[in-house]
Amino acid sequence: MDAVYQMFLKNGFVLSFLVVGIIMLLTQFISQKILRNKIPGVALAIALGLVLASFGGKTGITDIPLFSGMALLGGSMLRDFAIVSTAYGASIVEIKKAGWVGVISLFVGVFFNFIVGVAFAMLFGYADPGDIATLASGTCTFIVGPITGNAVGASSEIITLSIAAGVVKVLIVSVATPLFKNIVGIESKTSAMVFGGVMGTVSGVSAALASINPKLVPYGALTATFYTGVAAILCPSVFYPILKWILMQ
């Protein structure tokens, strides 16, 4: 028995294919046979993935040694590589068409999320501009929280909190978007670009689009990755100094 366990441990990455395969098989079955396609199978699979993550700790299910291979399959290297591959066949015409809207939605999205983050940080009693800017950056997207936090010298508690705000966003975007797609109006490639530009979280946006229509993934992922870039520049280098200046008055 122990020998079998050791064998799975040694081949963690290969095991991760089996695990994800089983997750998808199970959720496709539930989606098609039990829920009659009311909720997309991918959305269910993502929800199940989150439930599995809750059994682990800091790094989700990989805290359980048997599932350590999931860290490689779900890590940023393969994720980014696969995201780039989805760009194959993306139409240059469509991207040009959404050009200015895409750019506007990027800046509006970053600014808007930062303001909401600032408002709630202050509402919850944070007064230090560095703390507020870090929390607000996490609200933009969880990658930028630590970037701003390190730049302004925020404590690790604040940085963790800022990441948490971003993860909350990922969770809601992945699970809620497919349910509200008609209300929000995400149907075309251009609207997917607006969605990615305003929401920004690459993981959340691409997960949501994958369950709405996989063809839309590259368009939303493209603007969402630029959102991360824009936010990583603006939050620590532009918004923070302005915020500090305002609070000093």
Partner: protein, 121 residues
């Protein structure tokens, strides 16, 4: 050879990441600034150009498509390695600001999309 397609993908990936690193250095930010976005742009432009020249064979495309089809499984693996418990337990400020920002962003997206539709008509 399918590996050629994958190799092209890999080359674009690194070309994009290098730009992202350079931008990060330029702005004094730790981390890669939009490297994946640039990689996608390079990849779109390169494959489009190769298609026009009839240089992109079915074999190349099959190598690329394999990775595209792995995308959803990777996303599922990705969510399973998130710190979900921390996100839920770490304090109301994270929960509230994350939730409100997301909900308001949905409203903003709806507004922008409807603007876009009017423009198109």
């Amino acid at each position: 050879m399918k590996i050629y397609g994958v190799a092209i993908l890999s080359a674009c990936y690194f070309a994009g990441l290098i730009i992202g690193e350079l931008l990060g250095n330029m702005f004094g930010v730790k981390g890669n600034l939009g490297g994946v976005g640039f990689a996608m742009l390079f990849f779109i432009l390169l494959t489009d150009w190769m298609n026009k020249k009839n240089k992109l064979t079915k074999e190349y495309a099959a190598g690329i498509s394999f990775w595209t089809s792995l995308y959803i499984p990777i996303v599922i693996a990705m969510v399973s390695i998130q710190n979900v418990n921390a996100a839920i337990n770490s304090g109301t400020v994270a929960l509230v600001s994350g939730t409100v920002a997301t909900v308001l962003s949905f409203v903003l997206i709806r507004f922008l999309i409807s603007m876009l539709k009017q423009e198109g008509e």
